[in-house]
Amino acid sequence: MEQVAHQGRLQSSLERATAIVLLWAWIFLAISCPARADDQPLEYQVKAAFLLNFTKFVQWPPSVFANEHAPLTICILGEDPFGNTLNEMVKGEAVNGHELVIEKIAREPAPKSCEVLFVARTDKEVRRILGEAGPGVLTVGEGEKFLQDGGIIAFVIEDRRVRFDIAQSAAARAMLTISSRLMSVARSVQK
């Protein structure tokens, strides 16, 4: 009887030892695997996808394009929070024959050089830059205050999701037509 019990104990301690060895082996294997390169935060990937979508639901006056095949330029003013995401997304994309192009700029854009102007949250001179953006530029920024400063579309985070507000009057001043579909998805539309 005792022998059987002893054998049983031996077997269970063997099993336990095997389990511990396997566990450690797994941990060490996992440690030796290199970590995945850090990706752009999901928030800005989603915002990039929105930005791309905006170009499809906004109509620019034909005069802003030099010709039918002129590119549609998305300018990122100041700090670029998108990393490589936006570049990857617009690759091969075109809207009504206008190829999408990303341009990073350090100061306010030259007239007719940008169709979309994205202003990162960190920029302090937002109000002045928006005032000088002129017609034909879809200004996109972050936070509710962006619309008060004269912007057209502002990203907001609500309930942990990316939403956006639209200032219709500012869009009209910039001679842009925003489709009703885009307005129906917006969190709020300011008349």
């Binding site: 970590a35 994309e93 205050k145 999701r161 885009l182």
Partner: protein
Amino acid sequence: MDTPQTLKLNMWKIGSRRAPWVVLALLSSIALADDPQSPPAGQSNPTALKQLSLEELSQIEVTTPSKEPTKVSQTPAAIYVLTGEDIRRSGATSIPEALRLVPGVEVARIDGSTWSIGIRGFGSDLTRSVLVLIDGRTVYTPLFAGTNWDVQNTNMDDIDRIEVIRGPGGTIWGPNAVNGVINIITKDAKDTRGMQVSAGGGNAEQGFLNFRYGGGNGNDFNYRVYGAGFTRSPEYHQDGRNFDDWREGQVGFRMDWNENRDAFTLQGDAYDEIAGKSVSATSYTPPYSQIIDGNALLSGENILGRWKRTFNEGNDIQLQVYYDRTDRRTPNYIEIRNTFDVDFLQRLRLPAREEVTWGLGARIDPVDDPVVVSGLQFDPHKRTDYLGTAFVQDQIGLVEQRLSLILGTKMLKTDFTSDVDFEPSARLLWTPNENQTIWAAFTHAIRTPSDSEENFYLLGYIGTTPNGTPYFARFNPNRSFAPEELNGYELGYRQVIGRKLYVDLTGFFNHYHDLFSEDIIGSTFLEASPEPVHFLLPADFGNGLLGYTKGVEVAPEYRPANFWRLRGSYSFLHMNIGRSPHSQDIGTAPSIVGSSPQHQATVQSAFDLTKRLQLDLTYRYVSALPAQKVPGYSTGDARFGWRLKRQVDLSFIGENLFQPWHVEYGGDPGPLVGIKRSVYAKLTWSR
């Protein structure tokens, strides 16, 4: 990388035993996952994102509720975060029910309004040794060093998250955080703007109505007000004593200001409720022992203010003040307590990767507990309890972003202890790469004595001798009751495998001494006063128990696709608690050991059928509680959510679906109360 496969198979095994619908859901979703038409699995793949519609983009959650996603996975403690979304999708109507989703937490419903909640053992209706906080306010009564769950209600939609730390959290938190901390955090007022009304009802949740309105100046000042009320039916009673019906009404508010460097919060709640309870009362005169069913009248208010100034990253100070009034009138005791509390905390970032946190806290709470029934008495019934604490913690980065050491200690003094007690801890955190965390901890924690040991007389009826003389046991207060002590050793491991699988593994060994016991302190004698003449067994509340607990908790999370999330948990617990050589304990030890489940397992599936339809399924297994005469059980919950319009949500929720009723815990006098199968519908309108 066959780990996801293995996991799927294990879940399959658990699911197939009793829950064919879990299997069905698994099958259908595996089929869906292979469908090229379904949304792309890796939601953060840029090219996949641009295929999504505007509406789909608006539905992607981009931040974790804690706002610092790395924080949880890199905490050197067994932490689990339940998000507001998790709670909403569980259909839980109360905080204890929501806690069922947290691995390693033992939740057992005793009756309609009473729960036993334990972490790593020691579950009881008193929930000793677990510290519970709501927005920084300790909801813990020094009456019995526990939490009255029946008055911890709120509008469930306002909860941002519940953070649960299993294991001792004594250094920063408080004196009662021996086996765990439950930290309930409500949403910032800026996240609850607009109007929301939800209402519903069913067989157990007979009716409920929640209202919330939030507004602000659109910038740095936001507020909300809320009201909530419910009425619940009694649970299932084999003897027909349907005593545990429950009605509650509650109102509250929260205001948040955010200036540049300063953040102010002011919030408050008031509640009033009637909860049916059953208690036993003992008297020296016949019938000696009787069961009283009656209503508890419970009301209370609290108000809390918090100011935080951030100097720069890692440097801030915080000051918090609150007042809490509890007015608790149950059929066998009354507690009227006014708590005043002030806490200060500072974080300092020093050169050489060092971060110091220190704090001071003081609490004073005058209390009155007048006698209600014979056999149970607080003496003196008017007292003032107090608590003073100080803590310091130093986080030292040994290797940049890879290895850090956290050393700390708390010092505390209460009116129940003669000395200053120390609660030191040491934690080591190793992150070999971004995807992995290994941590180890040693903690010394104490549970301070409470009124129910130091100021409490309890009479118990044992029986009647053949010649008709009654026989009682009487516990006298022990004014020198010592703190219960714990030395805890923990080891944890977390890994993110690919983008879809997350594994959290923790093992612990807790060594306890000076645990509460009910000791016989002499031999039986004949006592003439109070009349009539009776036999008395003299007894005392002592510190006679010691022993250890050990266990393992595994909590994997698997996201096969962005519309499907699977979570599981398994907890194993072994308790070995016994009397010390000099203790004459009369049965507390086997009761403690036999009141916590050795095995617990859960599987949860959150599945978005379409953009408008959600299906949530939960399966859980809890092994037997011999001391409570509760057999092991399996049961399951289901929720079907339907977004009718952008502003209207309809959901149908079924809880404890596997059987008409099942028992989870003793605790009430008389036969065990059966927890009913509950079905209800809920309509939410928000604008």
